[in-house]
C-alpha cells in the first residue's frame, strides 16, 4: 500500500504492507530509530508515539490506520511544550540509565502532561503503568513528571 504519512510535521510517502505496524515503518523504512521495539504486543510501552497528541503503542497499530493523523515521535516531541519540559526534567533529575525505554516513557509522560498539567500520583500511575523500565528508574520518572508539571504553564 502507498500513502502519505505525517511524522514530526514532515510528510513521507510510504510504500509498505497495510498491516505493517507503525513501529516498523518508523524504524525500518523511515530510519527514525528513536522509537524502540520492546515486546511487539503493547506490553512494555517502549514504542510509544503520539497520534494526534494521544499516546499509542506503535508496535500494534497498523500504519494504514493512521491515515491523515499526525504522528509525533521522540525525535519531534521537543516541538511540543509538554515534551520539552519533560525532556528538561528528565535531564535535571538524571532519570535515564540504559535509556532504551526512555523514549517511550517520555512520550507517555508528555502526553499525560499535555492532557493533565498537574497530575496526581494516581494519574501518573494510570498513564505510566504501561511503560516498563528494566533499570528501575520509576522513582525518578515520577519525580521528573512532577517537576515538569510544576514548570508547565496552566491552560
Amino acid at each position: 500500500m502507498k500513502a502519505d504519512l505525517t511524522v514530526n510535521r514532515r510528510s513521507y510517502s510510504v510504500n509498505a504492507p497495510e498491516d505493517m505496524p507503525l513501529l516498523w515503518v518508523l524504524r525500518d523504512i523511515l530510519g527514525l530509530s528513536g522509537t524502540k521495539y520492546g515486546c511487539g504486543m503493547a506490553q512494555c510501552g517502549a514504542c510509544t508515539v503520539h497520534v494526534d497528541g494521544k499516546p499509542i503503542r506503535s508496535c500494534v497499530l497498523p500504519w494504514a490506520r493512521v491515515g491523515g493523523r499526525e504522528v509525533t515521535t521522540i525525535e519531534g516531541v521537543d516541538a511540543t511544550p509538554a515534551g520539552k519540559k519533560v525532556q528538561r526534567a528528565w535531564l535535571d533529575l538524571e532519570v535515564v540509565q540504559c535509556g532504551y525505554c526512555q523514549s517511550g516513557q517520555i512520550m507517555s509522560a508528555s502526553a499525560l502532561l499535555a492532557r493533565r498539567p498537574s497530575p496526581s500520583d494516581a494519574d501518573i500511575d494510570a498513564a505510566m503503568a504501561g511503560n516498563i523500565c528494566r533499570c528501575g528508574t520509576y522513582v525518578r520518572i515520577r519525580a521528573a513528571i512532577k517537576r515538569a508539571a510544576s514548570a508547565a504553564p496552566r491552560p
Binding site: 524504524r27 515486546c39 525525535e75 540504559c98 535509556g99 505510566m128
Partner: protein, 711 residues
C-alpha cells in the same frame, strides 16, 4: 557526547596500536606525531579535541561518566570539552587488572580502573606541563593547568593542550606523576551530569538495534525451542511468497528469515511450519529440574569455608533447619538481542552491544572461520546488560546466519525468542542450619546447590569442584560466628543454559543467609537489628550501614495491621549495604512494598548520584524478581515468552526508595549489583514481620500469604 562511529573505532584502534597514528592524521605530515596519545585512554589532537577512550561498556550504570570523571579530573580537562569513545576490543590495553580480559560485569569497573585511569590522566597532564615549560623555558612547577590549558601565571602565558600535543609526545616521564590530593579533586566525588543522558532523552542514542536503521535488511530467527534440538524439516516456500521476504536461512538448529524490514521477516518466519527434532531435553520440565536439584542437594558438597566445629555447635542451643530456594530467571533486557553482521571474504564486521568485546570478537571469528584480527567489532551502548551480554551465544548465531547472507544484515530477536533462549540465572537450593546460644549464632552450616555458570562460560573444570561464584557472599559473613561450614554442590543444568545475572552468587547467598539470621533472631526473641549488631564486632562498616538504615527507616516505630519492616545487611562486591523494607500484605496475599531505605558504604565515591541511581535500580530489579520472576520449563521448552507472562515491576508497584551514603575513604567498592541482593531478604523478612509467614522460596507465593496454601 560523540557517538562511537565506525570511523572513530578505526582511528582509536590505530591510535592505540601506535604505529598508524600518522596515518589517521595525514594532513600533519610524516615527521611529527601531532596527536598526543600518551596512553590507551587519552587522545588530544592539535585542534584541542580531547578524547577519552573508555574501556568499559555503558549499559546504564553510568560508567562512561564515572570513568571520564577519573580521567578528566587528573588531566584537568573539563567534561564539556571531552568526547567519549568506546574502546575497541583489546585485552592487553583494556583488560581488567585481575581477569586480563575486557569485561564489564561483576560490579568491577570502578574497582578495576579507579587508580589506573587517574594515573593515566595525571601522567598525561604532567607531560603537557613539561612540554609547556620547555617551550617557555620555565620551571614546570611554576605552571598550572585548568580546563585543558597549561598556564604560567608569572608571565601570563597559556597554551591549550592541543597546541602542546606534538611537543608532549616527546616527553618521557621519569616515573608516574603524583595523583591529586583529595581536596584538589573537582570532578571525582561530585554528582556530575551523565554524559549519555542528552542523547537518551531525544532518541539520538544509537544502540546496536538502531544501527543503519532503514538502510539494511533485517532478519529474525527461530532457534530450536529445546536446547540441543535440530531442524528436521522446513519448507521455505510460504515465507518466500510474502512481500518483502528475501531469503530463508536454514541451519541445523536455527531458521532465519531475511526481509526488507522486521515486519517482513516476522511475517515470513510466522508463515513457516518448522518441524523440530527436540533432542535429549525434549521431555524435561520444571518438575525434573527441581527434583534433581533437591535430590542432589542432599549430598555433602565441596567445602568452601570451614571454621571451628559447625556440627557440634549445631547440637548446642536452639537450632533451626531451613531450606531456601530461588528460581530460574531471565534477563529480559529492554533491548532484545540483536547483532548487525556484514560478512565478506576475509572479513567480518559487527555492530552490536556487548559486555565482553574481545570474547565477542573471538566468538565471531570462530563462527566466521576467520582470525580475530579479521573481525571488526563496533560496540554500542546497551539497552540493558544485567549479565546477558556477558555471553556470546548471540554473536555466534548471528554470524552463522549472516555467513549465508550477502551484504550487511541486522538480526533481531523477537521478545519471545530473546526470553526463551536466554542463559538463565540458575535455580538455587540452600540447605542450612543455625543454632543460637546466649543471644548469638554459634553454629552455622550452608550448603549451596546450583549449576555453575563459570563452568559453562570458561569451559574449564571447576578447581577442586568448587564454583567460587556460587558461594560468593556466603564464605565471608559480616557476623562473627565461631563455628561455620559452607559447602557447594555442583548440579548439572538440565534443559536450559545458565548465565550470569545481575547480582550473581550474592543474590542467592544473601537471600538465604539474611533469611535464616532473621529466623534465628525471631526464634530467640530478639530484635532483628539488635541481634545482628551483637555479632558484628569485627565488621564496623557493616554495623555502620545497619545502624544508619535502621535509624533512617524509623526501625521499631509502630506499624499497622499486616504491615511490617524487614532488614538485611551485606558485604558484597566490595561494598556494604543495609536495607530496610516496609511492606503491607492484604488478605488476598497481595504484597505492596511501601518503601526501601538503604544505607551504603561503598568506599570512595566517584559519582554519588550514580551510586544512588544504581541502588534504586538494583532494589527494583531484585524486587521485580522476588514478586514476579519464575522461568518454568515444559517439554524442554521455556514457557514464558513476553512481559504478559514474565512480569516486570511497573511504576504503580514501585516503592519509594531512600538511599543514604556513608562518607568513606576506603577503596572504592562495586555498586551495580549490591542493590539487587539487598532487595529480597529485606522483603521476605518484612513479609514475615507483617504476617508471621516465612517464605523460603521465591517468587513470593500469594496463596501462602492469603492462607490458601501452607508454606
Amino acid at each position: 557526547m560523540n557517538r562511537p562511529s565506525r570511523r572513530g573505532f578505526l582511528a582509536t584502534g590505530a591510535a592505540v596500536a601506535g604505529a598508524l597514528l600518522v596515518g589517521v592524521e595525514p594532513a600533519r605530515g610524516a615527521g611529527a606525531r601531532a596527536t598526543f596519545a600518551p596512553n590507551a585512554f587519552i587522545r588530544i589532537d592539535p585542534a584541542n579535541r580531547v578524547t577519552l577512550i573508555i574501556p568499559q561498556e555503558e549499559m546504564g550504570q553510568g560508567v562512561y561518566t564515572a570513568l571520564s570523571q577519573l580521567l578528566a579530573d587528573e588531566l584537568d580537562a573539563s567534561l564539556a570539552q571531552v568526547a567519549v569513545e568506546a574502546a575497541p576490543p583489546n585485552d592487553a590495553l583494556y583488560g581488567g587488572p585481575k581477569s586480563h580480559m575486557q569485561s564489564t560485569g561483576g560490579s568491577t569497573s570502578i574497582r578495576n580502573f579507579y587508580t589506573g585511569l587517574r594515573q593515566a590522566g595525571a601522567n598525561a597532564r604532567a607531560m603537557l606541563v613539561q612540554a609547556a615549560a620547555s617551550q617557555w623555558k620555565v620551571d614546570p612547577a611554576a605552571c598550572r593547568t585548568a580546563d585543558g590549558e597549561v598556564l604560567h601565571d608569572a608571565s601570563g602565558r597559556r597554551l591549550t593542550y592541543g597546541t602542546l600535543a606534538a611537543r608532549a609526545n616527546a616527553i618521557k616521564l621519569a616515573g608516574n606523576a603524583p595523583l591529586k590530593d583529595a581536596k584538589a579533586l573537582r570532578l571525582i566525588g561530585r554528582p556530575v551530569k551523565r554524559l549519555d543522558a542528552p542523547d537518551k532523552v531525544t532518541g539520538r542514542a544509537e544502540y546496536g538495534i538502531d544501527v543503519m536503521a532503514g538502510r539494511i535488511r533485517v532478519a529474525t530467527l527461530a532457534q530450536s525451542p529445546t536446547v540441543g534440538g535440530k531442524v528436521r524439516h522446513v519448507d521455505p516456500a510460504p515465507a518466500l511468497a510474502l512481500p518483502g521476504v528475501r531469503q530463508v536461512v536454514v541451519l541445523d538448529d536455527v531458521v532465519a528469515v531475511v526481509g526488507d524490514h522486521m515486519w517482513a521477516a516476522q511475517k515470513g518466519l510466522a508463515a513457516l511450519a518448522i518441524d523440530w527434532a527436540p533432542g535429549a531435553n525434549g521431555a524435561i520440565g520444571s518438575a525434573e529440574i527441581w527434583g534433581q536439584l533437591r535430590r542432589e542437594s542432599a549430598r555433602k558438597g565441596v567445602i568452601a569455608n570451614s571454621v571451628g566445629d559447625a556440627d557440634s555447635a549445631l547440637g548446642q542451643g536452639s537450632r533451626i533447619d531451613a531450606v531456601y530456594e530461588m528460581p530460574l530467571l531471565a534477563h529480559a533486557t529492554m533491548e532484545p538481542l540483536n547483532v548487525v553482521v556484514h560478512c565478506s571474504p576475509g572479513k567480518c564486521e559487527l555492530w552490536t552491544g556487548t559486555q565482553v568485546q574481545t570474547r565477542a570478537q573471538k566468538a565471531a571469528a570462530a563462527a566466521a572461520g576467520l582470525q580475530p584480527e579479521q573481525v571488526v567489532l563496533n560496540n554500542h551502548m546497551l539497552g540493558g546488560g544485567f549479565g546477558r551480554r556477558l555471553d556470546t551465544d548471540m554473536i555466534t548465531v548471528a554470524v552463522r546466519i549472516a555467513k549465508q547472507v550477502k551484504g550487511p544484515v541486522k538480526i533481531v530477536w523477537s521478545r519471545e525468542e530473546d526470553m526463551r533462549h536466554d542463559v538463565y540465572r540458575p535455580a538455587y537450593r540452600n540447605v542450612m542450619a543455625g543454632s543460637v546460644r546466649d543471644g548469638r549464632i554459634q553454629g552455622w552450616t550452608h550448603r549451596i546447590a546450583a549449576a555453575s555458570v563459570s563452568l559453562r562460560m570458561s569451559g574449564k573444570p571447576l578447581v577442586g569442584g568448587l564454583d567460587k561464584g556460587s558461594v560468593d557472599g556466603a564464605t565471608e559473613l559480616v557476623y562473627d560466628i565461631p563455628n561455620q561450614r559452607v559447602e557447594y554442590v555442583h548440579v548439572e543444568p538440565r534443559a536450559v543454559n545458565v548465565g550470569y545475572w545481575r547480582g550473581v552468587g550474592p543474590n542467592n547467598c544473601v537471600f538465604a543467609i539474611e533469611s535464616l539470621v532473621d529466623e534465628l533472631a525471631h526464634a530467640a526473641g530478639k530484635d532483628p537489628v539488635a541481634f545482628r549488631l551483637a555479632m558484628m564486632g569485627k565488621s564496623p562498616r557493616a554495623a555502620g550501614v545497619l545502624r544508619l538504615a535502621a535509624a533512617k527507616a524509623g526501625w521499631g516505630s509502630p506499624l499497622g495491621h499486616r504491615v511490617g519492616r524487614g532488614v538485611c545487611v551485606q558485604n558484597v562486591f566490595g561494598s556494604y549495604v543495609a536495607a530496610v523494607c516496609e511492606v503491607e500484605v492484604d488478605d488476598h496475599g497481595d504484597v505492596r512494598v511501601r518503601r526501601y531505605v538503604a544505607a551504603v558504604d561503598c568506599g570512595l565515591v566517584v559519582n554519588p548520584d550514580t551510586v544512588v541511581a544504581q541502588i534504586q535500580g538494583g532494589l527494583i530489579f531484585g524486587l521485580t524478581a522476588a514478586l514476579h520472576g519464575d522461568i518454568t520449563v515444559r517439554n524442554g521448552r521455556v514457557q514464558q515468552g513476553n512481559f504478559n507472562d514474565y512480569r516486570m515491576l511497573r511504576i504503580h508497584e514501585a516503592p519509594a526508595i531512600d538511599v543514604h551514603l556513608v562518607r568513606s575513604d576506603a577503596p572504592p567498592g562495586g555498586i551495580g549489583e549490591p542493590g539487587v541482593s539487598a532487595s529480597t531478604p529485606s522483603l521476605v523478612n518484612a513479609i514475615a514481620a507483617a504476617t508471621g509467614i516465612r517464605l523460603r522460596r521465591l517468587p513470593i507465593d500469594r496463596d501462602i500469604l492469603a492462607g490458601r496454601k501452607r508454606a
